[in-house]
Every structure is written in C-alpha cells, then in structure tokens.
C-alpha cells in the first residue's frame, strides 16, 4: 500500500471492493463460472475439483470482486459458515441437470439462510448448465428449492452456461447493483 493508492482510494478513483462467497454442491460449476468471469489471460485452461477453497479476483460492473470459491464436496460444506461473516454478496450455484441432488442443495441452502451471519446479504442463484438437454428452468428451480419463501433478503435467479458465459452478465449486473447499494463506507 503505497502513498498513491491511498490517495486514489480517498479520492474515489479506484474501484470499490466487494467480497462474494460462491457456494453450491460439488460439480455444480462454481469454479467454471468464476473462471469464466476472470480476465482471459489469468483464466485457467483446465479445472480440477477444488480442495478447500480458492480466492479469485476480477472486476465487473465497476466493482472489484474478491470471490471465495468454496469446495462443494460433503466434508467441506460444514466449513462454509466460517466465511459468511461480512460478505457483501453470495452466489449459490445449482446444477440444473442434477434433479436427484436438488433436495441436498435445498438442505444446504436452508442451513445457510438460517445462519445469523447471513442477514440482508443479496443472494444470486445461478441455475447452471442450461445448455444441457435435461436442464430445469429457473422457474422449476424456484419451485423445487422453495425460493419464494425468502422475503428478508434480496435474491435473484438466472440460467447460465459457464462454458460460454451465457447469462452471466445479466446475473452479475443484478448482484453488482444490489451490492453497490448496500456497501457501507
């Protein structure tokens, strides 16, 4: 932190920082989505299942995103809660082709919503893998996961394709907009 970055910060020249948690069951496409959002030259060409978590950064909609890409495997899910505190936004990725595990995803979501640290935080649901033939629509997802009961915090759902990036822009714009409103200085 040099003198200049400090000055720029005060003058509001640099972009605002937001901290976003990306959760969801394993194999739902979290790492792929984040990889898609990163600048092309830092993006990984090959993804391996995440062990623990990874921190990624990218700029979008005039915000500097710091994303905690959490591993979705069973043994790590209980550790998500340690990262809820002070996040500006949450991305919840659902594999819209995985009907069998949709209820597992719902259980995890219930736990998340019940947690004291997750208050007034905007939640962006991403119904991923929409390109695949058996994908459920966002409306189906809302029904299965009973999203309409969430009344105490802003939420939104979009269908996405992490491979091509389809749907991501619109989704992220919603999240950025929500977060810009809630940022405290």
């Amino acid at each position: 932190m040099g003198l200049f970055s400090g000055l720029f910060g005060k003058l509001g020249v640099s972009k605002k920082k937001v901290k976003v948690l990306c959760v969801g069951l394993d194999n739902s496409g979290k790492s792929s989505i984040i990889n898609q959002l990163k600048p092309k030259k830092t993006a990984a060409t090959e993804l391996v299942p995440t062990v623990g978590f990874a921190v990624e950064e990218f700029a979008k909609n005039n915000l500097n995103f710091t994303v905690f890409d959490m591993s979705g495997q069973g043994r790590y899910r209980s550790l998500w809660e340690h990262y809820y505190k002070d996040v500006t936004g949450i991305m919840f990725v659902v594999d819209s082709t995985d009907k069998i595990r949709m209820c597992v995803a719902k259980d995890e979501l219930d736990t998340l919503l019940a947690h004291a640290d997750v208050r007034n935080v905007p939640i962006l649901f991403l119904a991923n893998k929409m390109d695949l033939p058996l994908a459920m629509t966002p409306v189906d997802c809302v029904a299965v996961m009973e999203l309409d009961r969430i009344t105490d915090k802003p939420w939104h759902i979009s269908a996405t394709n992490a491979m091509t990036g389809d749907g991501l822009d619109e989704a992220l714009t919603w999240l950025a907009d929500q977060m810009s409103r809630s940022i405290r200085y």
Partner: protein, 939 residues
Amino acid sequence: MQGGQALPPVEAQQSDWQTQGSQWLSGVKDAAMSTLATGGGGGKKDEDEVYSPFLGLEKSQVLQECRVFNDPQLNPRLCAQLITKILYMLGQGEQLSRSESTSIFFGVTKLFQAKDDHLRRMIYLVMKELNPSAEEVIIVTATLTKDMNSKQDLYRANAIRVLCKIISMTDPTMLGQIERHLKQALVDKNAFVAASALVSSIQLIRVNAEVVKRWVNEVQTALQSDNQTVQYHALALLHMIKKQDRLAVNKIVSSLTRTPIKSPLAQCLLIRFVKKVMDEEGGGGERDRTLLEFLEGTLRHKSDVVIYEGANALCGLPNVSQRELSPAITVLQLFLCSNKPTLRFAAARTLNRIAMLHPAAVTPCNMDLEGLINDANRSIATLAITTLLKTGSEAGVERLMKQITTFMSEIADEFKVIVVDAIRSMCIKFPQKHRLLMTFLSNMLREEGGFTYKKAIVDTILELIAQIPDAKEAGLMNLCEFIEDCEFTPLSTAILAVLGTEGPATAEPSSYIRFIYNRVVLENATVRASAVSALAKFGVQLPQLRSSIVTLLLRCLHDNDDEVRDRATLYCSMLQKMEVSPDDVFGIGPAQLCLQPLPVPLLALEHAVAQYLAQPSDEPFSVFNVTMSAEMLAAERKAAHEQSAARRKAENHDGGSRHQMMPGTPGKAAAKAVDASVDYLAKIPQFAHVGPRFSSSKPAALTDPETEYSCACIKHVYARHTILAFELRNTIDDQYLQDVRVALDLAGTAGLEVEVELPCPALPFGVAGQAFILLRRTEAAPTGSLGCTLRFRVREAHAETHEPLDSSAGYEDEYALEELELAAADYMKRLMVADFRAGWEGMGNGGEVIETFSLTYSGLPEAIRAIVDFLGMEVCEGTGTPQDGARTHTVLLSGAFLSGAQVLAIVNLRTESAKQVGMRLSVRSADKEISQFVASCVA
C-alpha cells in the same frame, strides 16, 4: 525470520530471509506503535525504560480485533500487525480455546485474498502456530498448493513448509497429491525453496517414509548444489532415507569422503555419520583406513567447527589408540590457547572426557590446561582443573583441589557436578587420597546447592563407601551429618537405607542410631518411615542393640502417619519375637525380610495374599507359594527392559562423563545397564531360592551381527547357581517365533545341571525377547565351552503387522549358535584395594602361584585389555595404561573370588616381538587352590 529459525546461519544466499527479517521487524515496530498509541502499553511511559511493545496485551481485546480479518476493505498492514500480536501472545504461553483458535484460523484463511507479501508471510507463520484440527485445516490445501506453484520464491518456500507441516500433522497419505510439486521444489534453483523442501521432507519422512524415499535422485542432485544450506539439508535427508541400510550409508560416506563438500555444517554432519559407521564396526576388528584418514583429514580443514567436530569424533572412537588420538589432541591443544572462549571450552570439554581413559594422551596439554585454571570463564576453568585432576599425579591433587575451592561458589551446579565426577574418579585412581577428597566432599555437602548437585555428591560418597573399605566410616559419618539438615527427601531416604545396611557392620554401630532416630522425630512421613526401617535393620543384625531398638520403635507406634505406624508395628513384633525364637514371616526370615528386596513382585504378592484371605487354609501363608501370571511376567520383563534401555541411553548421552570408566574396566557401563534386568530376575519366583547375586557378565554375542536371529547371553552368578539370560531378536519380518529356547550341551563340562528353563513364549519380528536357564553348579566354579542351539517353532507372519497368520500352524526349527564360554572371570568380582602393596605383602606368599605365558598380541595395550577382561579383576593404582612406546609394563589387579576370598595379582608384561607379548602372572590369595584356579585359567 522463518528461514532463520529452521536453518543455521549461512553467509551466502541470505538475501531472501534477510529482507523477510527486516519486514518482520518493521511489522513488530508498527504493531508496537499502534499498541502504544492506543494506550495498550500499560503503565506510564518512561523515556528511560524499554517496554515490550506488547506488554499487557489482553487476549479478549486481540480476539475482538480479529474482526478486521473479515473486512471487505482489507487493510493488510493492520492485519499483519494483528497476527504479530497473536504470535506474541502464543509465544507467551497464552492458551486459546478450541473455538477461539478455530475462529482465528478461519479469519486468517480469508487473508489469502490480499496480495501483500509481508502479510502473506505472517499468514504462513501463524498458520503453523494455530494447530488447527484435521477437519479444519484441509480448507487451505488448495490455496497452499497454488502458492507452492507461485512464481514468487517466497510464496513457494513458505507454502511448502506450511503444507508439509499440516500434512504430517493430519493426514500423511495426502502427501501423494503434492508429491510432484515437492519433488520439483527439492531441486528448485532458488536456495530458499530447495532448503524448505528438504527440511519439510525431513519432517515428512517420520510420518510417510515410503513416499519420501522415492525422491532419492532429487536429494542426490540437491547435494550437489552450490548453496551450502541446501547441501547441508540434503545430506541430512539423504542419510535419513538410507539410515536403515548400512551398506548404503557406507557408500554415501565413502563417496563423499572422496569428493569434499563445501558447507562446513554438512562436513560436520558427515563426520558424525562417519563416526557412527566406525562405532558400529566396533573396535574389535580392523579399522576402516579410508574413514580414519578422512577423519584425520578434517583436522586440516579451514573451518574451526569442522576441525573440532573431527577431533571430537576421533577422541570418541571405540577402543581408540594413543596413536590415533595424538593428531586430534594436537589440534585441541591449539584450541586451548585460542582467544575464542567457545573453542577453549569445547577443547577442554573433549579433553576432560577422554582424560580418564587416556591420561597419557592428554598429558601433553597439561601446560596449556594449567594456563586455564584461572580463566575468567569459570566453566572453562572447571573443565581445565578437573581434566588436570584426572591426568595429573597424586602430588598435584592437593594444589588443584585448593584452586578449585577458590571459585566453587561462582560456578553453576552443572559444573559443580563435573567437579564431583572428577573427585569420584580421583578416589578410584588414588585410593590413598580418600581422606582429603572425603573432606572436600563433606565441605561441598554443607554448601548451598540443588538436588542434582547434592545427589552427585551423595552418590560419590556412597560409591567410595562401597569401593574403599577404609573410607566407609568417615563416609557414613558425613552422610549422617548431611541428613541432619537435608531438604531432599529422596536423598534422605537413600542415605537411611545405606546406613541401615552398612552401619551395623562398623566398629561402633550405636553411634549412628542417634542420627537415625532424630529423623523419626524431625522429618516428614516418608523420611520417618525410612528411618523406622533403618532402625529395624540394626535391630535384626545386632542382638546387643535389639532391646534398645525395640524401645525406640515402640515410640513410633503413635505416629500420625499410617505407613510409619505400620512399619513400626511390624518391626516391633518381629524383633520382640526374635528374642524368643527366630520365627519367620510368611516364610522369609527377619534378616532377609529387612535386608533384601522381596523375592516376588509386590503385585503378585498382593494378589496372592488377597486370594489367601478369600480362601484361608490351615497352611500358613508363604511367599514361596506365590505364583506369577504370564501377563505379570511379561509386564515385568518389559519394565525391566525399558529401564535398562533408558539407563543405557542416559549413559550414552552423557558421553561417559558421569560414569567415568577406569582404564581397563570397559564393562562398568554395560554392567550398570544389566542391573535393571537383574533386579527383575530376583522377582521371578522360579529363581527366588538362588540368594543374592554375586556378579553379572557383559552380554556375550552368540550370533554374528546381521544374521536372521540374534542371541546374546548374560551370565548371572549366584552362590550355587548360574542364571543364563538370553537376549533374543528375530529379524525376519515374515516369521513369528514361538517357544524360543536355547538348548545347552553340558556333556563336555562337568559340574553343571539344568534346574529350570523359561523359554520365550513369543518372538515377533523386531521385538526383543528373553529366555532363561537356571543352572545348578555341583562343583564350585566350572569353566569351559557349552554348545548352544536355538530351538523354536516358526509360524509365517504378516509382513506388515508381523502377527502370525492363522493359516500357518508352524514347524519346529533350530539354529546353530556359537559356543558359550564359562570363564574364570565369571566367578570373580572387581574389588578396589586402598593400598595394593600393603595388601600384597600382608597376604604373604603362602597362597602364591606364579605362571609364565607367551601371548599372541601385537602390543601391550591390547594384551592388557585382554588379560583384564579375562581375569575380570579391578585395575589398581592407574596401572591400566602403559607409557607410550614402553616395552615392559606391570599391571596390578585386585578382585574377590566367588567364596568371598580376596585375590591379588601382579602381571608383568614384556613385548617379545611384533606379535608376541610375554607375561608373568603372580596370584596371591588366602587359599592356594583359588590362586591356582585363577592362574591356570589364562592358559
């Protein structure tokens, strides 16, 4: 700082951790400023005083501050300061609860988002200190793996350290996942990264040797590194990888002795490995010339550290000869005159250690040592004086003792103990000086001092009492005075026990009673109980004092401590009964009960008594009906083994300085080590009737080293019996041996009968086992060679668990052992005489036998060693080492024969040719037959 902690300082390539160090310092300063600014410094700020910046740091406040870890607008500098505080707190011994440390840990993991180098280093550091649980810690695996592949050297090196530590603490099997990266890091061109990988591998090999062993090629490459630190760690790791394989170790060593390595520390390490190889080869056979030349070569190295390490190694070689020592002594002598205190200290310490075994070799340094007896560094002065005491003549003792008295009060207890040790060996070398030395010891006893110091003095006095009959009464009196004002319960009880056994045999036993009875009046319960027992010992042994002792014991019947009262009651009634009829208690006579350890373990006795009480019979209870269960036997065996192993370890660790060996009595340390197992022998009911032990031999190997099965035998000699204790080991990992016993061929040796055999029930791979044979001797002292065969049942075992396979019923097998020698030395005990000449003259030539022999030895020292070993007698008056280059020499020997008869011997030796030593052996004792037996045994 991180680098500095784990690595020894090395000039080259320091830039990495130097910058890190300064970063850390600035971090501390920042944190200090912020703490002071917020008033956390505690107390008034005084310009003159230096406060720790973290003085008065409150845990709760620090935990509160940890909120900043969650801040989306992360402030790296603030976070780094906070981590410094946490580290400081942990360093001060502050305990964190599980949930506190969990919350800090997860807070810290969020900081990986910051791109700040300094903060990242603090993250690595604190991560290792927080000790997260296995379930939590996996969360950082991916992040650390990513850092391991970072372009930043700093990230790579530190991530390796942290990840490896986590893996070795939690789940060593995870190593497979990062193996590829670690292998690469071992040969990284950045020294800090390579060194980190090497050090981490040294940690990992303890938990997952299999994987680490696969990296041997990379480690070999690292060993060729230009960087000294890398070289050093690579050598250490390479050695760990090859440790089990002696041939491979020899190969590393010999290849490196040819192509020198640059790093002085690596060179020192190599010297230690060489030394170890030479130790294992033993002093028996020929020395490996190349290794010896290598060690001698290190004495010409340009680094002092290497020179010292080399000299120290040479001095510690097994059976080192005068010629081998002399170049090492020469460089140590130079160090003695160095202006660096460390070198003077190191040299003096090594010389001190070998002075006892090789006084002649150290004598050339005497002038230089004299120059150090006033050294401002008292540790050096102490070592110098005690070395001089060991090498000097009798005449110098007084002067040196006076010199040391002048600063005794200035030196630490640790060094006072060195002085006590020197005095101990002094007494054995010059028994005539015992009065002077005893006075010195008693003065030391009166001074202030800690437990270890006081214990060393008491032990020395006890040893003098045991070794020099003339010193006994004065020694006992000194101890009596000491316990009058002794704050250490264990010492008081030990002394009281000795007073009880030794006091009654003195000229005026009653003089001790007052001191003992004072304890009953003045001391704590433990000491009171010991005093009661000591009084009883007098009562049992001395009929004329018995009634007065009973009177004293009667007064103890009202003691407020149960144990004291119980003992007093038992002894009172026992002594009173003795007046009427010498009744025994539970089958043990009063004398045996008081003076000897119980013939069976307490646990077995307790068990038997409980059973007897549950089902009383008309037969009176007797200890000889006590039986031991198999588990109890096994537990006892294990305990005895652990005890002797611990003792052996302690002896090795002390480098022989605590228990200085006399020249020619190399068996002493080994003999001490077998003591523990002997105590245990006395507790095996089958051996309860053999009485007190007369002597124990050194272990004799009955197999070559590195054979399938190993077997060594210790001979314990008793009045009419000999117990053969066999130490067994099975080195075949897929065999499980059962019912292992040694079959003896007694046909060739008259006078021996097998009375009891205790086979070893099971001998799994790698676990030591024991088997016993109790021989009854129908003749006094049979000697000869006994044929031995190992017999056992073999079952196939699982190669990993070494448990026997159920499918394998097994088969009987046998294995030929070497012959077991019963020698004259087995029936002889080393015994010190105060004045050999007087003893010799006093014995007269009535029982004298003289024999002459021609022996095949290439030098006097070898011949002396062999003879002393063979006769098993004590070397008197320091005659164990011949003058350098001398062609003739006389050794004076003294011992006690099985019957208790004192035996003295004069051995005149002359070098007759390069391979022949002529010997005239004159033996005197009260009984000519004994003399004859001793003399004829050499033939």
